[in-house]
Symmetry: C2
Subunit: 335 residues, 2 copies
Amino acid sequence: MTETIRVQDIGEQGLLQKLQRFCPPDVIGDDAALLSIAAGHSLVVTTDTLIDGVHFSDRTTSPTDAGWRAVAANLSDLASMGAEPIAITVGLSLPGTVPVNWVEQLYQGMSRCLHPFHTPIVGGDVCRSPVISVAITALGQVKPAEAIRRSIAQPGDAILITGYHGASRAGLELLLNPDLHSAIDKTALARLITAHQRPIPRLDVVALLKDLRKQDPDLRIAGMDSSDGLADAIVQICRASGVGARLNRSQIPVPPEFSNWVSNPQAIEWILYGGEDFELVLCLPIEIAETLMAQLGKGAAIVGQIVAGRSVLFQDEDAVTELSLSKGFQHFSAD
Amino acid sequence: MTETIRVQDIGEQGLLQKLQRFCPPDVIGDDAALLSIAAGHSLVVTTDTLIDGVHFSDRTTSPTDAGWRAVAANLSDLASMGAEPIAITVGLSLPGTVPVNWVEQLYQGMSRCLHPFHTPIVGGDVCRSPVISVAITALGQVKPAEAIRRSIAQPGDAILITGYHGASRAGLELLLNPDLHSAIDKTALARLITAHQRPIPRLDVVALLKDLRKQDPDLRIAGMDSSDGLADAIVQICRASGVGARLNRSQIPVPPEFSNWVSNPQAIEWILYGGEDFELVLCLPIEIAETLMAQLGKGAAIVGQIVAGRSVLFQDEDAVTELSLSKGFQHFSAD
C-alpha cells in the first residue's frame, strides 16, 4: 500500500510545482500572466466559483469531473457572449489534508475540458482554506459589435436552443438514485450521466456564428447560456430586452434517453428548470435561426418567438402558463 | 434596535442588486464583462483568493479593511509587472448567515482602494459556502517590451526598494497586542496600523517608470512586489534570473515608527520576513535607480546589488548570512 501524500506534506511551493505542468511554461514565473488580444477585439472576462458540498460533492463528482465542470461553466459564459477563449486563471483554496493526487486530478479535468479549445491555464493561486473552492476566471475576446447580449432581443426574433435540455438534471437524478438504473438502457444511462458530468460549452456555435456574420456583418444576436435552466435564460433575456416571449411545448425536443422512465410532467420540469445543460439560447431573425439550426445537432430547435409586451408564456398541450425565475435563484435558501 | 438583514433573507439576486451600485452600470447584465485594451498593449491577469480565518480575521480586520487589502494585493501584482489596471472581478463565497451590511462594507473597502486608480469592479459571482472567501482577478495592460519581470535581473543592477518594509508586520503585532500601545507615540501607532490595514499598491511607481522610459525606451527593469517579504522578493528574483545578490543592512531604512519599542533583531526580522508591505523591489541600472529613488518618498532606498553566482548574502554589522525562502512559504503548515 502506498501512503497518501497530502498537500500539507509538500507545501504551497511543492503543490505549485506539480501544477505547473498543466500550464504553458512561458507564462509561469511572474506575479501575473501576459496575454495578447487580437486587434479590434475587446476583452471578455467572467468569473465563477465552485464550492465543495455546494456545487460538487463526492457522491456525484470525481475531482476530474469537478475540474471539467468548473471550466465548462466558465467557457460557457464566454460562449454566452459570442467570445472566443484566450485563457483561464485558477484560484484554488483547500485544506492541507487534501491528497495531492486529488488536486492533480482536478487539474487533469480542467485541462481535458480546455484541450479542444486550445485554451491554456495561465496561472493562479493556491491557498489554505477549511473548504475546497475553485475560483476560475475565463478570458476571451470578441469584436464589440459582434458580442451576443441579453438586452438586444426584438419582437419577431426566433428563439433557438442549440441542443437538448434536461439531460444534465436527469443525469444527476441517476447518480443520486442508482435504483433507477435498471429501468434504463445502458447507452442512455451513460449519455445522461456524461451530460451531467462532462457538459460541453458551445464554443462551436460561436465559430458557426462567425461564419454567418461573414454574409451579414450587421447581424444582431441576443442570447445567453442555459446554465441556470432554459426558463431562466428566456426570462432573463426578456427582462433585459424589455420584451416578452411565447414558447411552445411541442417544439421543445425531449432528450430521447428520457423514454420509458421519465414522466411527461417530470420531463418538462427538468427541461425548463433543470439547469446546467450549458446550451445557448439565441434570439435572432428566423431565416438565420433556420440556417444555424440546420448546422447544429438533433437537439437544436426553434422553440418559440420573442413578442411585444413582458409576458413569457409557455403553451403546453392544454394550458398556457407564465414562466418565472422563482425556481432558479435560491442559492442561499436553507433547502 | 434594527434587525440584522442576512444574505439568506434577500437571496442571491437581492444581494447582487445591492452590489451593482459598486459596479459601472454599462458592464452589468450579461454573463461576462466587455473591456477594451489599449493598442499595442498585452493583457496582464492575476488572481488571488482571501479566506476568512486564514488571510483576515475579525480580530484584526473589519470587512472594509478585508476588501481594501484583497484589492491592494491584486493591484500590487499588476504593479509588480509594470502594468496599469483596467478592472477587477470579484468571486464572493459566503454563508447565508452573513449580514448584508458586512458584504456592503467589504465592497466599500474594495471600491475605496480602487478609487484613486479609476479601476472598476466589472462583475463577478456570489455563491453560498460554509466559509467566506473573496477571489479577486485583476486585469491590467502593459506594452510587452515594458513588462517588469523576475527573470531579467543582471549582475551590476542596483536593488531598489520603493518604500519602508516591516511596517505592516509591526501594525499586525500592535493589533494583536493592545498592551504594547502604551509604549508608542499615537501618530506612530496609527501609521503602523494603517500600513497593515490599508496598504497602498505602488501603481504610482509604474507611472514614474513610464516617464523614465520616455528617455530610454530599451530600459530593462527586473522586479516584483514584496507582498511575501523583502527577503522572499530578492531570493525569487535571483532564482528566476540565475544571479546572486548582496544586501547591506546599513542601507535598508527602518520605519521611524519602530524607535523606542522594536529591538534591532526584531526590526530586521520584520523588515526581511514580515511581508505584506506591497512595495516594489526593482533591479535596474544604478543611475536610473538613483533618479527613481529621488522621485520616491523617504523609505525608498538602494539596498544592495545583483552579483554573479547564486548566493543572496545579507551583510549585517558583524556577520554575513545567506537569505532563503524558508520562512516565507509555509501556508499549509499546521501553525
